[in-house]
Amino acid sequence: MFKFLVRGAAIAALLAASGYAATAETLRMWGPEQITEPLVAELWNGIKSDFEAANPGVTVEFMPPTGTISNGAVQAAIQSDAGPDVILTNSGIGRITVVKNAKQVVPLTKYYEERGWKNQIYPWLYADLQGQFGGEIYEVPDGLDALGIWYHKDLFAEHGWSMPKDWTEFLALMKAMKQAGVQPIAIGPRTPASAGHLFGNLLQSASGTDMVRKALKREIAFDDPAIAAGAVRLRELVDAGYIDKQMAGLDLEGASRLWFSKRAAMFVAGPWFTANARKAGYDLANAGYAPMPSDLPGETKPTGGVGWSWLVPVSSKQPELALKWIDFVLSDAVMKKRAQNAASTMIYPRALDGVEPSTPVLKEIFAAAAGGVGYNPSVYLPGPVVDIYFQVLQGVISAQINGEEGMKQIQAKLAEAK
């Protein structure tokens, strides 16, 4: 009898194990870039546990991301056929075009209706996504960017500086900073997007949102003086020494170090910079944020667009589970949990009632972006043009070419691109 019971228990255990094996699923993902930071890891491990609890038999496995679409890591991971099942990465139409044209990502359009995603993001954002690829959508926005000027409140107070209202005053401020022995602006163009952040702000300041939109939609040329003005300004700042041309040899980390050490007074970045600041031990209460001043009425505003999105690779072994994960991330519970967490570093893709940003500087960023944001061209330019765009910015910052020449080269590449 005892033997019978033991055998029965063993068989039951085997069956249970085999049944479990049949239903056990693993969802492998590339999460946020900062997932190795303790605060971010704690938040995401919590979200992972919640998802696993809501989906018995499912295990979520974070594969630390090794890069972005811009540096080819996402494409290489998908192409390897051993990559993640769902990817969170820097996005925007320019980057998505690359993976969309290579047929590396699954179209998600029908799920916006079927799974109600269209009601979980801002209506203007949904309309924007619909307008990108003739109605087909390949991404689910996770966060929006709002790029503007970060400054040290104590340094400004010490020198009696304040963020100016217009460009002329802004030039005077930079002159004063230089005379005080402080680098006015830090920039790290070796990290291509970093140069794009500053240039997007200058373009917005010099040309205004509508003009930049026209250029990105190819209604006017990039080398049109109305658009080239931003590049001309960039070169003027280099020539005046307000941007040291040696900064062309810095990456985002090196430029951040210059700013965190207060050897530089200003730095153009988005809400995600809070993560860099925290990592560097910088007191976030001392950080101030303001959009780049413009002489054009109503154009003093941050630039941005979709910053990060979820993608489902065609090589995903768990496409259904990937969709479930996106449902989960878009849910109110998860979005609020993320937004209220100290590790929060971005603007969420829909309004979240009753949620207070976790740091004062984030409050300033959200307030500055409340009236809308201008365009960050890095996000909107077609994939084949992005490379020359970043190289041209490096060329202007290192004083190898002037603004007009640079814009001509971008326009030439834009004319070639489909």
Binding site: N71, Q79, K245, Q246, M247, D387, G395
Partner: protein, 312 residues
Amino acid sequence: MQTIAGPTGPLARAAKVKTRMGGSTGETGSALWLMVPALAIYAVFTLFPVAVTFWLSFTNSAGFNTPAEFTGLDNYARAVHDPIVWQALGHTFLWLLYHLVLAGGLGLALALAIGSLGKTRTFFRTAFFLPHLVSLAVVGVIWANIYDPFFGLINTGLIGLGLGNWTQGWLSDPSLVLFSVNVASSWQGFGIYMLLFIAGLQNIDSSLYDAASVDGATPFQKLVHVTLPGLREVMTFVVSLALINGLKGFATVFVMTNGGPFYRSELITTYIYRLAFQSQDHGLAAVLCIVLSLLAITITVVFTRWRARLAQ
């Protein structure tokens, strides 16, 4: 008169050798079967990728998930008309030259310096070889920090010594950037060349130095007339190796400058990566892979023939 060799005579030995070399049909078949695994691996991992690359160069492939159309010589024409290709090609030659002089030259200089040491030779040999064990990507990160214009070791050191005017934008100055990155790459690479030169030095007959001393040769004359000629074969090998390693230069450029600023450190290899993995332009990338292979073959063959002619 007929000569019959016994079973242990020269004819029998020759017959055995012939059997081993030519063998019977059955033995040849067995030998071929034994070669199959190696041939299969070679075919899958070398011949097949080469064939695919060649095929891709005639298509507009944007990755393996999209259908590729045959476009004839379009990609070759694009390569010819792309100014960045020519710029990258020029940089690749310059990179080769820098690598040869910096890594090869340093390897030779240190081998000569260490060669004459006594007990401390092992220590220095190990110490100088250590950078070779560090991955190129890590080397890139280390040297990018050394070159940091505001916090880096070089510029802060120069300022500390009162030589602030000598500070440079090591990675931002278009005329310096390729050299600066190559220094980092050569720092990682010279160790292997140094070991090869040390091995070569040990093979030089010491009696030649004794004879030179008897003839009253100075150390410099010994170097020129004994050491360097004695290292001729090793040098040929080192130069060939340095040329091939130089052509493969990628990691340090990718990590330290990503080809910038404004393509001033773009090499053929980094441009291939940019095209293939960032722009998904596999056709043009394949053309440049073929160009790079032809370049490597040409340089090696020309150099080897030149050396052979010189030796004659």
